[in-house]
Symmetry: C2
């Protein structure tokens, strides 16, 4: 992590409204679910998503500003980390329930799903 | 309940996308939270909300179509019931976590909060 890291909201200022506005988007839910499933940080470009690089950058910024992910540089790669423990501290059980629901949906052969 | 009851989606067709689109709106979250806290059905007009009757009708329809509430007539009153067990069956823990988060937010003196 170096001084190119963007700003992140303190966990105490995270709002439910921002979290829901972030996760109402299926691409952003997928980013969060992929981070949860990987159990490790993922570089931008490492997500399995059918969107352009600039669209992904936008979605990651929304997630960062909502307090859901932390972004930092490792060399030239911008990395993304799920702020799971911090979000769970603010809203107990919420992120896990949302990810569980999202994973259940993705396991089903829904039209338009992955 | 009589034949004026509107249509309701089967619990098996409820989608996470619709639930989140319904509950991203703070007025609709408040309706669901008030039903949860009351522990009983509430007639339209019985909610503590600073919105017009037609706006409330709209919000209740969105909640009904998302599968979150059941609407029925009792005499001339249109009643609203939370489909808590059914939603919990579809997405375990999700509704409770969302309501818990919503209640935590409302307990705090947030500008614009109740």
């Amino acid at each position: 992590m170096d001084d190119r890291s963007p700003e992140h909201p303190d966990v105490r200022t995270i709002t439910l409204q921002q979290i829901l506005e972030a996760l109402v988007d299926p691409v952003r839910r997928s980013i969060v679910t992929q981070l949860w499933e990987a159990g490790t940080d993922i570089r931008c470009g490492g997500f399995d998503l059918p969107v352009s690089k600039s669209t992904l950058t936008h979605h990651c910024r929304v997630l960062r500003e909502a307090g859901l992910i932390r972004q930092y540089y490792a060399g030239t790669a911008r990395m993304n980390a799920l702020r799971r423990e911090e979000v769970d501290e603010a809203f107990p059980g919420l992120l896990d329930a949302l990810i569980r629901a999202d994973r259940a949906v993705r396991r089903e052969p829904v039209p338009g799903g992955r």
